[in-house]
């Protein structure tokens, strides 16, 4: 098995997290549903978490792993607030997409 013989180095993880981050960012740009857009942000944050963990392992430093917990808490807080705001909008205007919110411009 060639795959087993090749050790998965840190740069693979870094590449993956960069890819995930990009997927999240592009997803936010192309999706119109505010909830999905928000999920994309969560994906981006978790991609960063993967980067942190990788570096923590590379550097043999526990700090990077602790950061992940902080980020998870922050992400949870963002979810609470974000859902509140988005649901508040959707309740008043059911089915509204991000593009419907363009009252303010110019």
């Amino acid at each position: 098995m060639i795959l087993a013989a090749t050790p998965i180095s840190a740069s693979w993880y870094l590449g993956l997290s960069a890819l995930l981050f990009t997927v999240g960012a592009v997803g936010l740009l192309v999706r119109r549903n505010p909830l999905v857009m928000f999920m994309c942000v969560e994906l981006m944050l978790n991609a960063v978490n993967l980067t942190f963990v990788t570096f923590a392992r590379e550097l043999d430093d526990v700090g990077g792993q602790v950061v992940v917990f902080f980020v998870l808490v922050v992400a949870a807080a963002e979810v609470v607030i974000g859902l509140g705001i988005i649901v508040g909008i959707l309740r008043r205007r059911p089915g509204a997409t991000a593009d419907d919110l363009s009252l303010l411009k110019g």
Partner: protein, 664 residues
């Protein structure tokens, strides 16, 4: 006695604050009297300080710095709020406070009955305060503060009657063009600081001699840009003629006597730096001045609005002062500034008196024959006219002669331009006087009433004009009836006219050029301008010759005007009904006189003024609006496009950083 210096600006400031707080309650005319009293007190304080400075003797005795407090500690230096009293600043103060006091007095009568009476004096006092800060400031930054302050008051007062759309846009135009000048001034301050480590005048005088030529040149050029904006020279003069939209006393005080001369003052103040700069800088100043003088004089010939004639005339006379500065004749520049303040304030106030008496009419084609109805105004106005035309022994003759003499030594061509301007000045001012005060009264035809009634009302007016105490309320009533009843103005307006007429007549005595002993102003200012002053080496024969030529030019100008405007109207006097048409005949006479091309040239200069120069100013504004309009499109309101902007920005940032990192 020089310790009283702080009182000079403090009194107008006090007046400003009092009027701001209680102006409305004081009302008309008490607010005006309060304002006049504070400015008058300021004048008295100036006289006291002046006498104190005069009395002092010894090396540096004619220079006194009064530091109030440290204002701006910045980096390694600090800027004090302090006043520098020396022959130059005290001379400026004397004529600024003096004319300001007279114009304040005049305004009590002129603004009587105006809704914004107390507001007007609030601005006027603030203006005088700012002007005094400008003149007395002991460093470039404090002068800049005053510079901005007078600018702000000027915009407020131009747009004083905001109801008129033109006034508001004139205020805006003044703001824009002045900003260009201010930019030059600001950069000059910064450069001076980096070159000398200080922006205090005494340090600048001491250190200017050691400046590198390039640095001095850069500072001088930037200062000249600032001065060009403030003193309405080519190509930044556009705002001044439009600024005449404000009340007439404002034109007299700000746009003729004081604020617009600030540029000349600044250049005179900084003469050691200009002396250190490349010679082409002063040549440029002289050329700009001469070109402006001639250009504005030609435009003035074609104007119908009495105030616009005076406005262009002011631009032209400021050109003279620039010509003087550029020729190294700083004393002559200040001398001309002082005499110009007297006679131009007089002319503006006189025109205000005319406009007041005519119920707001400003078109000279609808004036004429006012001499009999407004004797005091007419007599004083004629004095002002002879002074500006340069007829000896009026003050304007002496100062203009000085300027021309120095211009001759700089380059005969500059002198020639100055001479032609002098001729044109005498001509267009003659035209103004003849059209306004002489000839057939054309205002009777302004109304639509049948002849008989008009005659009758004119008779009433004549009676009214005899007693010089008619009130302004009568004017408003008359204006409401669309009927013009010219009458003499109240005493508060005529007294300043008489005083200014006296000064215009005798103002020359402060610097009589034919005897060195009598050149009082020159000896007085000598310590301030010694670095930059050009020393004459023409023989007295040349001096006399030039003076005679200049006098002849003035007389020729007046003669031409009388031929074209006075005689013709006298010949047509036998009451042909259509006098308005006669007005057009005069213009045709001008065309015939100057030939078709000449007329077109005058038109062309006016056109250039209106389209090219105005257009450039408006064009920049339009460009910014256009850009903004395009950029607005990017702000689409869609959150996803904003996110795209953020993401694209992030990508660009990363790319720039990494590419630079690789390159390094």
């Amino acid at each position: 006695m020089v310790e009283l210096t702080w009182v000079i600006p403090a009194l107008p400031l006090l007046g400003f604050l009092l009027l701001l707080a209680f102006g409305r309650r004081l009302g008309d005319p008490l607010a005006g009297w309060l304002a006049t009293a504070t400015v008058g007190g300021s004048f008295a304080a100036t006289v006291v300080v002046f006498l104190g400075l005069r009395g002092a003797d010894g090396g540096d005795a004619h220079r006194y710095t009064q530091t109030l407090f440290t204002w701006l500690p910045a980096g390694g230096f600090s800027v004090d709020v302090g006043f520098l009293v020396d022959p130059l600043s005290i001379t400026m103060c004397l004529f600024v406070t003096g004319t300001a006091a007279l114009i304040h007095l005049y305004s009590i009568g002129y603004m009587h009955g105006d809704e914004g009476f107390s507001r007007f004096f609030v601005y006027m006092n603030l203006f005088v305060f700012s002007m005094l800060v400008l003149v007395l400031g002991d460093n470039l930054l404090l002068t800049f503060l005053g510079w901005e302050g007078v600018g702000a008051c000027s915009y407020f007062l131009i747009a004083f009657w905001h109801t008129k759309e033109a006034n508001a846009s004139a205020g805006k135009k003044a703001f824009v063009t002045n900003r260009i000048g201010d930019w030059g001034y600001l950069v000059a301050i910064l450069l001076t600081f980096f070159a000398l480590g200080s922006i205090t005048y005494t340090d600048i005088f001491a250190g200017a001699g050691g400046l590198a030529t390039t640095t001095a040149t850069a500072i001088a050029v930037l200062l000249v840009i600032g001065a060009i904006g403030k003193s309405a020279q080519l190509p930044l003069y556009v705002w001044l003629p439009d600024a005449m939209a404000g009340p007439t006393p404002v034109s007299a005080l700000i746009h003729a006597a004081t604020m617009v001369t600030a540029g000349v003052y600044l250049l005179t103040r900084m003469n050691p730096v200009i002396a250190q700069a490349s010679p082409w800088v002063s040549t440029t100043i002289a050329v700009v001045g001469a070109a402006t003088a001639l250009f504005a004089a030609t435009v003035a010939v074609a104007q119908h609005d009495i105030k616009r004639v005076l406005a262009y005339s002011t631009v032209s006379q400021l050109g003279y002062m620039f010509l003087a500065v550029g020729s190294g004749a700083y004393v002559a520049a200040i001398f001309h500034m002082v005499t110009h303040a007297f006679f131009k304030a007089l002319l503006f106030l006189g025109s205000g008196s005319v406009i007041h008496g005519m119920g707001g009419e400003q078109d000279m084609r609808r004036m004429g024959g006012l001499r009999a109805l407004m004797p005091v105004t007419a007599a004083t106005f004629i004095v002002g006219w002879l002074a500006i035309a340069g007829v000896p022994p009026f003050s304007g003759f002496w100062s203009k002669d000085e300027v021309l003499l120095f211009a001759w030594e700089k380059h005969p061509l500059l002198w020639a331009v100055g001479l032609v301007t002098a001729l044109l000045t005498a001509f267009y001012m003659g035209r103004l006087v003849f059209l306004t005060f002489f000839g057939e009264p054309r205002w009777r035809r302004a109304g639509t009433h049948p002849g008989g009634e008009a005659e009758q009302s004119a008779a009433e007016v004549a009676d009214d004009g005899g007693g010089a105490t008619s009130t302004a309320t009568a004017v408003t009533a008359v204006a409401a009836e669309q009927e013009v009843h010219p009458h003499e103005s109240p005493w508060t307006m005529t007294v300043p006219l008489v005083v200014l007429a006296g000064l215009s007549l005798l103002g020359g005595v402060i610097n009589l050029s034919f005897l060195s002993r009598l050149q009082v102003l020159e000896h007085w200012l000598e310590p301030v301008v010694e670095a930059g002053e050009h020393h004459l080496d023409s023989s007295s024969g040349v001096k006399l010759g030039l003076a005679v030529v200049a006098t002849v030019a003035s007389l020729v100008g007046i003669g031409l005007a009388s031929v074209l405007y006075l005689r013709r109207s006298a010949a047509d006097r036998p009451a042909e009904p259509d006098i308005l048409l006669e007005g057009w005949h005069y213009d045709q006479a001008v065309s015939a006189f100057a030939g078709g091309p000449g007329r077109r040239f005058f038109d062309a200069t006016t056109w250039f003024d209106r389209h090219i120069v105005d257009g450039a100013v408006n064009g920049v504004a339009a460009l910014i609006r256009g850009l903004g309009g395009v950029a607005r499109g990017l702000q689409s309101g869609y959150v996803r496009s904003y996110a795209l902007g953020v993401a694209a920005g992030a990508v660009v940032l990363v790319a720039v950083f990494v590419l630079r990192g690789v390159a390094l």
